[in-house]
């Protein structure tokens, strides 16, 4: 059975066919949830935000332009929805999962073999530390890309910025990561 294109489905919704919208939801729910979870880090919030996103899409169906892709628009709505939620939360930063099993560095210095392993761990911690120090504008695209696996286009859509801006921020984030890492590892 032929897979109907997004435009066909959206046109059908515009004409009042609600069932066509269900296909859209099924088609994009994972992508939207993925983005929401990336930004909100909480399962319940991500599901709520994802639902809100689809609802907003439905309500705005009249302004759908069939000559443009649906996915960027949908991700843009999702990104806005998530950011609204984030703003309402106390913390502005994307919380990172803490590594609670960090060992006390001073203990492992004796063992040369351990040093190889320990060195890697220290580097990892240093990287995480430095990433957390980045401004939200630089950190978010980095995390969305390298933790959540979003493509640059998806990041652009979600954050509402241009593709080249995403790339510039990724690059800048990595540049700064390098500088800061050198400093941190030296000390």
């Amino acid at each position: 059975m032929r897979r109907p294109a997004d435009e066909e489905l959206m046109r059908a919704v515009q004409d009042g066919d609600v069932d066509a919208f269900e296909v859209i939801v099924e088609r994009y729910k994972l992508v939207v949830f993925n983005l929401a979870f990336s930004m909100l880090r909480s399962r319940e919030d991500a599901e709520d935000a994802a639902q809100d996103t689809f609802l907003k899409l439905y309500r705005a169906v009249a302004s759908y332009d069939p000559s443009r892709l649906l996915e960027p628009w949908l991700l843009r709505i999702a990104g806005n929805t998530c950011r609204d939620r984030l703003r309402r939360r106390a913390a502005a930063a994307l919380p990172m999962v803490r590594d609670d099993e960090a060992e006390d560095l001073s203990q492992a210095i004796e063992d040369p073999r351990a040093e190889a392993v320990f060195g890697k761990q220290a580097t990892e911690q240093a990287v995480r530390f430095v990433v957390e120090q980045l401004s939200e504008r630089l950190r978010t695209p980095l995390l969305l890309k390298y933790v959540n696996g979003l493509t640059n286009a998806q990041i652009a859509a979600a954050l509402g910025i241009s593709l080249s801006n995403v790339k510039v921020r990724l690059a800048r984030g990595k540049d700064l990561l390098q500088r800061q890492l050198e400093r941190v590892l030296e000390s």
């Binding site: 809100d52 009249a62 628009w73 806005n80 630089l138 390298y146």
Partner: protein, 889 residues
Amino acid sequence: MSASDSTGDPLRGDDPLRDQDEAEGVAPEQAHYALPEEDVIAGQPADPVDLQRHPPRSPNCAAIRALLRDYVDGELELGARTRIEEHAHTCRECALALARGEHEVLRLREALAADAETHRRALASFRRREDDEDAPFTRQVMQRIERDAASPRRPPSDFTAGVMARVRREEPRRSSLRERFFLPAKRGWVPLLLALAVLAYMLLRDAMPAETVVQLGESARATVVGAGGIPVRPAPAGTVLGEGTWLGTEAGGNASLRRVRRDEVLDEWWVGGGSRLAVESGGLLLVLGAFEVRAAVPVQARLAALASAVEEDAAQPIRVALEAGRYRLVSEAVRRADAALGPRNVVRHRLEVIEGGAEVQRGAQDVAVAAGEVAHFDGWSQVVVEPTAEALLAASRDVAVGVDATDRRALPAEPGERGSVAGSVLTRDGRPAAHASVVAWTSHGQLVTRADAEGRFALPGAESLAGTFAVLQVLPAEGSTDASGARLGAFGPRVVRIDPRGAGSATLPEIRLAAGVERRGRVLDAEGRSLAGARITPCLVDEVFGDVVPETRLARQSDAQGAFVVDGLAVDLAPGLACWLLVEHAGAGRAALLRVGAENEGSADCTLRMPARRDLLLRGFAAGARLEVFESVVGLPPGALERRSEVVAGGDGAARVGGIGAGPVRVREAGRGTWLSFTESAANGDRVLQRNERARFRGLAGESLAARSGFTAERGRADGLLRHRALSGVRENPNLFVSVRDATSGIARSDVLVLLLRRGAATPELLGEFDGLRSLAAATEAGAEVVLLGLASDGAVGAVRETVRADRPFCTLDLRGPRPLRVARAAGWREDEPVLVRALDGELRGMAFWRVPALAGEGATLDLGGIAPGRYEVRSVDGRIQTVTVTGG
């Protein structure tokens, strides 16, 4: 919080990339749709340090380097990928650069692997649940959509398409006319016939009244209503409203309207929530609500005098003629007792001219309102025009420093003296109000003078005063009456403009004193018996700042039957001021029992019943503690006209004060400055105040203003009340330091915006953001009354009124909250743009503070702490207004 580094402070976002982002930003109306233009050619910029340490050998290498990061991210297409891989085989430098680039990302990925794993698991779990349990997510979404679809709202059709469709419908008519004439009858006839036909058509077309189309734009919760306001059917965007159609918006909703004639947009209206209007031939009839109009051409509108359209005939029609420009109108229903017709809901209008000019036409009266002015009027009383607060502030910005109220730097001038500002006071029928007292607050300070026998007076300093504003209060000489013998009332305090007249002279607008209104009735004691010998004093009350000024010259006593008459009461007070009748009796106590207003106008019999007096029992003190008790007058703002008594706590730690009324009470230990806090209850007919150790003190205004202001009986006027309308400057040295803490725990809070509201200012100034450590400094005048507002990022709010004192410059603001205030999202609200919330009643009444709403779908939540039930006005940066009611609980 982020350590300061070259990326800048994350809170402030002073990241160099931010400018670029803003430049690439999207217009709010397209927020959900438009994406910025792509520059697909550029890739991720290469690492500049890497380029420096390992510079590319050739332009080809430079091009490859520019693509390396994209390559590592897997963002390149096959052709580009191949190019890079082939080049890396032949170029050592680039191969090493590639390896470094890959290492960079690998290190990042490994460090974040744990997070990535968590993310993957969450995603997998979501997918598994959807598969196993028959897609609960999708089902929930569809259920919500079905609920949405069930409500009587069709998907909004396109506004432009609607207009164009109408326009197109007109076209065929024209062409068919032309077609008929194009069918050639006879050769020679055709051109002449054609010419005649075209001429005839053009004449006909211009003679036909061009239809004005009233069309709804984007609207939230607008419905077509019956004349009484009952909704008939929903009105989605694009609806064309025909003549005779009534439109209503729900509270919290809004609508936009456009009137179009042919292709010309005549005006655009924004209609706030809770409004009602009707479309008439030639214009609109505005009944209730908040409106803003942008007129491209002169426009007329009719305003309702009564809230119920059925009674319209009984009232005078009110019209406003607007030139091209921008205007804001707020129309509210007010209950009023009409001597002839009984109680009705009268509509009071407030028309503000932002740009352009307006004329209010009512009966025989035409009153002009210029840009920067606001007019208050209804169907009956005088149209009052005064400058808007913005205009006032704009004019006062360059004004010199204000002075202490008793400092009289200059003596009043003689009328006609060079360099003087001329003024005159007349009665309504044009006779001079001889020897009236004039009190003026100008940028030179306060001046007191008296008019001569012709009603003329003058103020000095015309050169510097011309074009500025002054506050005037004019009191008629004792015994002055108008032609009919009625006692004259006072004028003001009102703000007036000093108009330049050229050659160093200036004038004030002519002041006309109207006969004051009267109130008569009876005074009763708490048991309902007539109270003789009660003193009734009219008081001017500032309902925002709580000042009270008794007008003792108008005071009267009740006779043996308890009957009284007070007359000469001021008619046209500035907004925010009200006249209250204060009743005092040695046995029955003190109470402010009647607010003189439209609701009791024409009332033949005002009954003033004194509240019962009780004993006040204070508990929770050390035996022998000496206490000072201050009692305010019930009905007046707290702190007004306080009476002090002293009492000593007995062995049981309790103290009793007899004969206290129901008014606000404050207590402190004798000789100390701190007010104590209590929990109040009632027992055995007593008022019981149990001392409460834990609660934090929220400051009240300092001592009674009447006492401080130097008001005396013989001068018959006070300074404190009127200062807030006067112009004042600010000294450079800060004399007020503000810190903020949480009301419950007492711990200093951070992330709080602190605003300062000065008297007379319409909006607060931002002092800064309190970070939990350093106090915020403000420069005010010693003795100034200010209100400090704190808004925390989590929505907690606090307010404190403070009198600035030289010996005690520190002030603490306690925050409580938050408690959400929900509003409907208004069209045009943008993310990150604040709105101004003004409390219309309750504790925070009159205060306004900025908030940034959290917008989600159609609703927005403003988190405001300490919110009491009541009405709030929410105004966006571009001036659109909604009124929201917060209910209890």
